[in-house]
């Protein structure tokens, strides 16, 4: 609002200055991410900037090395399972919190969002001691469950936001027209809040896909996720391979964000953009 007011009222010099500042901030934010991309096309054995020669050898290296591929597939599998679990739990929690009026709702909400603020290292220790007697340490499903708890707040936040713009009278109308509780959710509530759910699912996937600290605690030599593999690889040798893997990870994350944005844009277009 104030930026808009500034744009409308300020003269040309002020607008140029504002644009320059905005550009600098944007560059500062994306620079660390963007710098690895040219590095990944390096032709040499060592990381140096700018690269002396160009090649795709480090990409070839990634796609032909079993350890990299195994880790990548494992991370994708864990992230998918974690995202599904987090989406179901986070959506259910958001619906419950939006509907029910009970004392202590704020406390329950804060509790459910706590994985966002509790340091990962503390969660990791807790998860380790909780998993040990259950035999979940070292299993991919164990990592997925732990990631689901970390990722569910992203779903909760997104679905809660979607529900804020949802008219509860639509559910009354559906029930009045004869729909059961489940039909009402499936045919009315869910299609309308779907963009929020999908955005939450994408965030949950990325949160799990990137996560290393908790995974490090409960990993086993046979189940090394991609972030852990990258970490280990960096400790052993600093080769442009790491830049190639990083670029691929960035590519995946960015495409997922675009998918989420597309879903949201389509939903807005379909509802006429007035809600």
């Amino acid at each position: 609002m104030s930026a808009r007011a500034l744009r409308l009222s300020a003269g040309l010099p002020a607008r140029v200055a504002l644009g320059a500042v905005a550009l600098l901030v944007a560059l500062f934010l994306v620079f660390p991410v963007v710098i690895v991309i040219p590095l990944s096309f390096s032709g040499s054995e060592f990381l140096s900037f700018p690269p002396e020669s160009w090649s795709l050898r480090w990409y070839a290296d990634f796609f032909t090395t079993a350890r990299w591929l195994e880790s990548a597939w494992l991370s994708i599998w864990i992230a998918v399972v974690a995202a599904i679990l987090a989406t179901v739990l986070g959506t259910a929690a958001a619906l419950g919190l939006a509907r029910a009026k009970f004392p202590g709702r704020a406390v329950v909400t804060a509790f459910l969002l706590s994985p966002l603020v509790v340091p990962a290292i503390i969660v990791s220790i807790g998860v380790y001691f909780f998993y040990a007697p259950l035999g979940l340490v070292g299993s991919p499903i164990g990592i997925a469950i732990a990631h689901a708890t970390l990722a569910s707040p992203f779903v909760l936040v997104n679905v809660t936001a979607a529900l804020a713009g949802f008219d509860p009278r639509l559910e009354q109308a559906a029930k009045n027209l004869g729909a059961s509780g489940w039909s009402t959710f499936r045919l009315v509530t869910f299609p309308i809040i779907k963009p929020g759910v999908m955005a939450g699912a994408v965030f949950a996937f990325i949160a799990s896909f990137d996560e290393m600290i908790v995974a490090l605690f409960i990993t086993s030599p046979g189940n090394v996720t991609l972030p852990i593999r990258m970490w280990e690889s960096m400790r052993n040798e600093i080769s442009p391979a790491i830049a190639a893997v990083s670029t691929l990870v960035i590519l995946l994350s960015v495409s997922l964000f675009f998918v989420a944005a597309r879903i949201q844009a389509r939903a807005v277009a379909r509802s006429g953009g007035d809600r």
Partner: protein, 364 residues
């Protein structure tokens, strides 16, 4: 859609009340609606009309009393099982479904065969004049078109009871009249019981079998339109429907009241003492030259014309009685000649049967 055996169900509210926090939105609501009857709820904003509908539809639980549909108490019945059609005040159309999909929804929920559903939806959209917009989303429809989709959706499954919360509020006059007639036709053909909320007294008068006037959560009067108009139970109802003049009278022995300088026969008992408020509709008062003869059984008073306005089919006079009280007279125009000018002395007269008396606001 033409099965004549399916008729409306009777509805009965017994001492129903709804309390929010410490205030009652509806209190002591007693209303019996016969099968196939068209009853309008009329009242100012916040008088409890929507709350009453919501309790019948099952979205609000009465704090006290009970509600029965078709002779069966519905208090413990979930909304989806009540089979009551409802047009919400805000339409509540599903934004992700087309007009046709919205109308199809209740049929789909009832598991009707696809061919039957398609035919019913097409027919219903045709009735509300939206056949050409069947594939539009609600956001691509005007307010009035959305309202018609909501109406079609509430009627298409032929519910025995139909609730409508100001279903025609957003429509222009012409479309409003068309749909009023359409609603009446569908209601009559299917024999539906209808509970209809409106702000518009004329709409209530023309459409209803009976009108229920509400104020502050309570029922003031339930009666046929003619009775409501002609014999309002209190001054609030009298003022709500049409225009009315209020004159102060005092009892003058048995069977008579004094209105300023004149004594008028008064058929009712009248108050033992104190003032009586007399209400007379402006169209029941005749305006004549000062020396014109007065018909028998008429009360006549002298007055001075203050203002005159031509309103097409009638002339509206504002006149001052010699007591200082202002009186409005609506003179139907058989011909445009004549008319009285401001400042002119005139004689106003009306049949004694045109007077309604109120004591402390209640009909006497």
């Amino acid at each position: 859609m033409t099965d004549p055996s399916r008729l409306g169900a009777p509805v009965r509210f017994e001492g129903v009340g709804k309390r929010y926090g410490r205030s009652w939105a509806v209190r002591g609501f007693d209303l019996e609606i016969a099968a196939g009857e068209f009853v309008s709820l009329l009242g100012a904003s916040g008088s409890g009309k929507t709350t009453s509908l919501m309790m019948l539809a099952g979205f609000e639980t009465p704090t006290e009393g009970r509600i029965a549909v078709g002779g069966r108490t519905v208090d413990a019945m979930p909304p989806a099982k009540r089979d009551i059609g409802m047009v919400f005040q805000s339409y509540a159309l599903f934004p992700h479904m087309t007009a046709a999909e919205n109308v199809d929804f209740p049929l789909r929920m009832r598991g009707r065969p696809k061919a039957e559903r398609e035919a019913a939806v097409a027919k219903m959209l045709d009735i509300v004049g939206l056949a050409h917009l069947a594939d539009r989303l609600p956001s691509q429809l005007s307010g009035g078109q959305q309202q018609r989709v909501a109406l079609a959706r509430a009627i298409v499954f032929e519910p025995p009871v139909l609730l409508m919360d100001e279903p025609l509020g957003a429509l222009d006059k012409h479309l409003r009249a068309t749909l009023q007639a359409e609603i009446k036709r569908i209601q009559a053909r299917l024999g539906l019981t209808v509970l209809f909320v409106t702000h518009d007294q004329e709409e209530a008068l023309t459409m209803s079998d009976r009108i229920c006037v509400m104020r502050d959560g309570a029922i003031l009067q339930v009666d046929a339109p003619e009775t409501i108009y002609d014999r309002p139970a209190d001054t609030y109802v009298a003022a709500f429907f049409g225009e009315s003049n209020a004159l102060t009278a005092v009892p003058e022995g048995p069977g008579a009241v004094r209105l300023g300088p004149v004594v008028a026969p008064w058929p009712g008992a009248g108050p033992a003492a104190g003032a009586l408020e007399i209400a007379i509709r402006p169209e029941r008062i005749a305006i004549a030259d000062e020396d014109a003869p007065v018909p028998p059984a008429h009360v006549a008073v002298f007055a001075t014309v203050r203002e005159t306005t031509f309103v097409g089919d009638r002339r509206v006079y504002l006149a001052a009685l010699d007591t200082g009280e202002a009186v409005q007279v609506n003179q139907p125009l058989a011909d445009l000649s004549g008319g009285h000018r401001p400042g002119e002395r005139v004689r106003l007269h009306w049949a004694t049967t045109a007077m309604r008396g109120f004591v402390d606001g209640r009909a006497a």
